[in-house]
């Protein structure tokens, strides 16, 4: 009886796990293994895969030789510099406001969420229109207050600014909803005790809210960081990486090299370099985390 149960347990485990395992194998492990192999070949998709040549570390050397790689990496860090601090600060402020028990707060929360549920392709198209140098609404509004707007997406400085602003616009609702949940986990007792001691709103923010929220903030920073490294759709649609590479990103180059220039080996090497950068940055963040994230409550 017991033996039978054990046997049926094993069968059940196999039956329930097999679909997931097959998917993991076919869509993750196998592709990853072949990606490593391809990154050491000169394969270009046009020749039959049996005829590809192993060229050692050449692709990786080429990644570091190419000017474009540095442009893309630099662009992503410029993006991060503008995006990351802004999304954290603005997201926190918005979350604090949304946490106030005021009338209509549910409506505000829903409004903030609209950009989050709109697809990136739609968002990029709308903003291409809004930011159009001649017929765009943004420059029209700027002109009303006496500012001559730039040509945004065609300007090599303002194009990146535009990408940062649009990504902020799209993501702020998402970030603030996560932070809002973090805020709601903070017990009101702390604030009541602080108020009895006559604490100012400012010191309550820095001495209660920020430390108590730090694990959620860390989570938000990590997610935003990883998403930033994968910057792609908005760039492809709004600027196509231009003007003159000013908004070119790593994923955009992997895509272009692989699927427009057929350089499969080179693109694979690039994607591994990207993974390495993500890994190093995330680990660095993990180290920093110990300094400012407060886990014990």
């Amino acid at each position: 009886m017991v033996g039978q149960r054990k046997w049926s347990r094993r069968t059940a485990a196999i039956v329930f796990l097999t679909p997931a395992l097959l998917c993991l194998l076919a869509f993750q492990l196998l592709p990853m293994a072949s990606s490593i192999i391809i990154s050491f070949t000169d394969w270009d998709l046009l020749t039959h895969w049996t005829k590809m040549n192993f060229i050692g570390w050449d692709n990786y050397a080429q990644v570091f030789r190419e000017e474009k790689s540095y442009t893309a990496i630099r662009n992503v860090f410029v993006f991060l510099l503008g995006y990351l601090p802004s999304i954290v600060v603005l997201g926190t402020l918005l979350a604090v406001l949304l946490n106030r028990p005021i009338r209509g707060v549910k409506l505000y929360r829903a409004a903030v969420f609209v950009p989050v549920i709109t697809s990136w392709v739609a968002v990029s198209i709308v903003w291409r229109w809004l930011l159009n140098g001649q017929s765009g609404l943004i420059n029209y509004l700027l002109a009303q207050v006496g500012i001559q707007g730039p040509i945004w997406l065609q300007d090599d400085f303002w194009a990146m600014v535009a990408i940062i602003l649009v990504t902020l616009w799209k993501d702020i609702g998402f970030v603030s909803i996560i932070l809002l949940a973090g805020l709601q986990d903070i017990s009101v007792d702390y604030y009541e005790a602080a108020e009895l001691d006559g604490a100012s709103p400012w010191s309550k923010l820095w001495r209660i809210t920020v430390p108590m929220l730090s694990p959620t903030l860390y989570f938000v920073v990590t997610i935003s960081l990883i998403n930033s490294f994968q910057l792609f759709v908005q760039v492809l649609i709004m600027t196509n990486g231009g003007p003159a590479g000013a908004t070119s990103t790593i994923v955009e180059q992997v895509y272009r090299n692989a699927f427009q220039f057929n350089k499969m080996g080179f693109a694979s090497a690039q994607s591994w370099v990207l993974l390495l950068i993500i890994l190093v940055t995330t680990l660095a963040l993990q180290q920093l985390q110990r300094r400012w994230v407060v886990y014990d409550r």
């Binding site: 039956v15 796990l17 993991l24 697809s119 392709v121 994923v251 499969m264």
Partner: protein, 275 residues
């Protein structure tokens, strides 16, 4: 805090939130209004807020250039199939990881978790090669398959199934239920809230997916909405009224889901940190 001070603070909060809400929803409203304008109004300077007449011509005209409603049907098919398969596969695996012990399970689970950290573009090239070698490029199956498994989903469901008391399962076993029976009549009903949240996200990320359809589909007949819209904007880069009509069509289903399931959206986001 005194009453008047609190009122002033509330007023300030209202002011800020209203400004932000306008800034965050206006571009979206502009898109909606743009979808009803004609091709001259849409580029008129100074811009007009409201269309001179509310006509639905754009929604019909776009079909003349691009099979938008075919894209819509493709997107719907792919998103629904992806969501259903993903939920089924992830729940089944999560059941094993939470409740059916066997040797090596822990190691396998760690392997699952590790793949969560691999960004999609690392597997993009080989996945494309795999799919083209198996003739899955330019097929519905090719669009659906890469999305039917999610390590993240498995992880979340496992956490949720872990909270189900073992006694509940034991009682079912004593009544003569099998592992399969327990799965359907104990596990699945009890993790419904997690399943709802997860299904919204699976649906939304499939609906929005752009990178994979971009490389997995060549023919117009199989394009999904994001891909179709991006091609449309490449060809008619200044026909803003038509592009906005297309955007509106792509936004409607997600918006409807959002209206009816806002609670699950929020829950899903705070639970998973995915969008």
């Amino acid at each position: 805090m005194t009453g008047s001070k609190k009122r002033a603070a509330d007023l300030a909060a209202h002011l800020f939130l209203t400004l932000l809400a306008v800034a965050l929803t206006f571009p979206f409203l502009w898109m909606l209004l743009g979808a009803f304008k004609d091709n001259l109004e849409v580029v008129a300077m100074p811009p007009r807020l409201l269309p001179s007449s509310w006509n639905f011509d754009n929604f019909a005209e776009i079909e003349g250039y691009f099979p938008l409603y075919r894209f819509f049907a493709n997107s719907a098919l792919v998103a629904v199939a992806t969501t259903l398969l993903q939920l089924a596969i992830c729940t089944m695996a999560a059941y094993v990881f939470a409740k059916i012990a066997f040797k090596g399970r822990q190691g396998l689970f760690v392997l699952f978790l590790t793949t969560m950290m691999i960004p999609a573009q690392v597997t993009l090239v080989p996945l494309f090669i795999l799919f083209s070698r198996t003739d899955l490029i330019d097929t519905y199956a090719g669009l659906i398959l890469p999305g039917i498994f999610s390590a993240y989903g498995t992880f979340l469901l496992r956490q949720s199934i872990m909270t189900i008391p073992n006694e509940l399962m034991e009682a079912a076993f004593i009544d003569g239920a099998s592992y399969y029976r327990v799965f359907f009549s104990v596990i699945v009903p009890l993790v419904k809230p997690t399943l709802s949240a997860l299904s919204i996200f699976a649906f939304m990320s499939s609906w929005d997916n752009f990178l994979w359809p971009l490389i997995a589909v060549n023919s117009k007949e199989l394009m999904t909405l994001p891909l179709g819209l991006s091609k449309l904007q490449g060809q008619w880069s200044t026909e803003w009224n038509l592009l906005m009509a297309g955007n509106v069509v792509s936004f409607v289903p997600i918006f409807i889901v959002f209206l009816f399931a806002q609670r699950y959206f929020i829950k899903g986001i705070t639970m998973t940190g995915i969008k």
